[in-house]
């Protein structure tokens, strides 16, 4: 088998925001690589920087950026060197797209769903005509399991699950390499959630799109995960093959997090993590989890490296160095 192609490589990505109290280190030194195909899930508590990570990679930045640095390679090209306009034309929504949080409520209420889904094609000049764009929209609607009658409806005529599918169709219509899914199912009912997950599994298999699923719901994340990444206080603390991760997480934070997930079928004693994540205004030097960590020792005062422990697993912890 040929060496799998690397679709995305991120090196030392930093995104700090300027606030009245000083810079907030929302994403601080994240590095990882992704191969084409396998879906990665990014899990972590709220405020750990997981949504900011997707926005940093897509360069959807707010106005109060303090630092934005690092390098991002997409299909081997360094996209950080591109200017804003070039990035918009060549990368955003062409190569990478996003289903943002509560996206189903962000559809324009006065434009027909079909026209909204076809819009990225028209804007990026990926369709020969309006008719062609409409046909392509119809094709993705079929993929996400929405009847083509819905193309001519307005968002308020669709239920939550259908709107979420329409938003997903909008992210897929340009046939991007990478789709970021930021909490795509958190506002939906359990059965609808499972139906959407089934759709995503099918698309992953049929289209070969690389999904990056950002969620705080670890149980649901296992539905799509081929690889799992854990973020804590703006940093990536573990990146691992999903099977190994769900069975034996390595980082003490990942272990605690897994122990706090309630399970339906097996009886386990639930734990919780005492304390709170550190403020990102002034994060502790050294390991950021150290104050809450049960296995803390002297070395933890220095910042641990993100080490490769073999078997496609990386962990940022002195215990594994």
């Amino acid at each position: 088998m040929a060496k799998p192609e690397k679709v995305l490589r991120v090196e030392d990505l930093k995104l700090h925001f300027r606030t009245g109290k000083g810079p907030v280190q929302a994403v601080d030194g994240v590095s990882f690589e992704m191969q084409r195909g396998p879906a990665t899930v990014v899990v972590g508590e709220s405020g750990c920087g997981k949504s900011t990570l997707s926005r940093a990679i897509l360069r959807l930045l707010p106005r109060n950026v303090h630092t934005f640095s690092g390098r991002i390679w997409l299909n081997g090209t360094d996209v950080m060197t591109l200017g804003e306009e070039a990035f918009r034309r060549q990368v955003r929504w062409v190569k990478m797209s996003l289903v943002s949080q509560a996206a189903m409520n962000s559809l324009n209420p006065v434009i027909k769903v079909g026209d909204q889904v076809a819009e990225p094609l028209r804007v990026h000049g990926l369709s020969a005509s309006k008719k062609d764009a409409h046909n392509q929209a119809e094709e993705v609607f079929r993929l996400v399991g929405v009847s083509k009658d819905f193309l001519d409806r307005y968002p308020f005529e669709l239920s939550g699950g259908m709107r979420q599918r329409a938003v997903l169709a909008m992210a897929l219509v340009t046939r991007p390499d990478i789709v970021f899914l930021d909490e795509p199912t958190s506002a939906l009912d359990v059965l609808t959630q499972t139906n959407i997950m089934n759709v995503l599994k099918g698309i992953k298999h049929d289209l070969g799109v690389t999904f990056i699923l950002i969620t705080h719901d670890i149980a649901t994340s296992s539905e799509l995960a081929d690889r799992a990444a854990v973020m804590y206080a703006g940093q990536l603390v573990e990146l691992s093959d999903a099977t190994d991760f769900f069975r034996t997480p390595l980082h003490p934070y990942s272990r605690k997090l897994m122990a706090s997930v309630p399970t339906l079928r097996e009886d386990k004693k639930l734990e919780f993590i005492p304390g709170q994540p550190p403020s990102l205004l002034n994060p502790p030097t050294g390991c950021r989890f150290a104050v809450r960590c049960p296995s803390r020792f002297e070395k933890c005062d220095a910042e641990p490296p993100f080490v490769d422990v073999g078997g496609d697993r990386w962990v940022k912890c002195w215990l594994h160095v």
């Binding site: 699950g161 059965l191 609808t192 099918g202 149980a219 099977t243 991760f245 339906l264």
Partner: protein
């Protein structure tokens, strides 16, 4: 079941919201709660699970007396709540605690912890001198400690978990008999969720409270309550003990719900789950017969779409409203089991 004191019994409870009016006419009703019966003993916790729009929040509001009853009976610790009677409701308010879903939204931003907790005491005529001691005791109980650090803080200075502790403290400060918790942990992070549920459980055990825990997340249920009621389209379609429901669900909807819930298992990524497509019905115009029949794979034509199923009891203490259990099971006598 032990022969404990009955705390709450609800019989054929209905809450309908009227739709738009045109003079004498109106567009019908949204039947948010349509014939719900159950009973709760003192010191018991029950969970009500259901999708959004299934009427579970309306059930909470009805029990709390926040929306008027359209029909049916409700009896709390010997007090009957009539459809339109104010005096009973005053009594109800101080005997039922409410834990809201969004703690930040439930706390007045301009009041500090002391004022938030003293308000219910002041309203119910607890003398000023006794208030401080009670506030401190409750704060100790929900572990908002050290008390002196927290008592003068405002809600925005607290983390989500601490805010929810404060809401719980407020709910128990009058020593109610019953707590209604409407999705108390859905806004919190996974790592804090467990902590809050354990706190609620501890408070429940130590005071012998009845708790109605309303949630859409079945996976937290087994850590919390004795009984689970499954709600679908304004009806309780299945009622059973927790272990019984998880290991042998009977109603097709409950079965689908259990299939849909994932445990963190890498095998999940390899299978496509078999869940019914479609959406729950509109409550303004629910389908005739069983409300799940348009999505049900065991649909029996001529029965499920014609007549509403009563509650059958295929095994003791396990009730299910589904025609599949019409043989073998016997119909529940709603009036007898609930009110006497």
């Amino acid at each position: 079941m032990t022969t404990q004191e009955k705390l709450l019994s609800v019989n054929d409870l209905r809450t309908w919201y009227e739709l738009r009016k045109w003079g004498f006419f109106h567009a019908g009703y949204v039947k948010a709660l349509d014939g719900v019966s159950f009973a709760l003993d003192a010191g018991q916790a029950i969970t009500i699970v259901g999708e959004s729009g299934s009427g579970k929040t309306t059930l909470a509001k009805t029990i709390l007396g926040l929306v008027p009853l359209t029909g049916g009976e409700m009896e709390l610790a010997g007090h009957r709540m009539e459809a339109k009677k104010g005096s009973a409701r005053v009594w109800l308010r101080s005997n039922v605690g409410f834990v809201q879903q969004d703690p930040y939204g439930a706390l007045a931003p301009f009041m500090n912890v002391r004022r938030i907790l003293s308000e219910p005491l002041a309203v119910n005529g607890v003398p000023k001198e006794a208030q401080e001691a009670r506030i401190r005791a409750v704060m100790e109980e929900v572990r908002l400690t050290p008390v002196d650090d927290f008592i003068n803080k405002y809600p925005h200075m607290l983390s989500g978990g601490q805010q929810q502790r404060l809401v719980i403290a407020r709910a128990i400060i009058l020593e109610p008999k019953l707590i209604v918790a409407d999705e108390p942990v859905s806004m919190l992070d996974a790592s804090v969720r467990v902590e809050i549920l354990q706190l609620l459980r501890r408070v429940q055990k130590s005071h012998g409270l009845g708790v109605i825990y309303i949630t859409h997340d079945l996976s937290t249920v087994r850590y919390f309550s004795e009984f689970v009621f499954v709600m679908y389209a304004a009806k309780l379609v299945e009622k059973a003990e927790v272990a019984e429901l998880i290991h042998s669900p009977l109603h097709p909807y409950t079965q689908a719900l259990l299939t849909a819930i994932s445990d963190p298992d890498p095998e999940n990524a390899k299978v496509i789950k078999d869940v019914p497509a479609g959406e729950p019905p509109s409550l303004a115009n629910p389908p005739p017969g069983c409300r799940f029949h348009p999505r049900c794979k065991f649909f029996i034509d001529g029965l499920c779409n014609v007549e509403e199923p009563p509650a059958f009891e295929p095994s003791p203490g396990h009730f299910v409203e589904c025609w599949l259990f019409r043989e073998g099971g016997r119909a529940e006598e709603p009036a007898a089991s609930a009110s006497r």
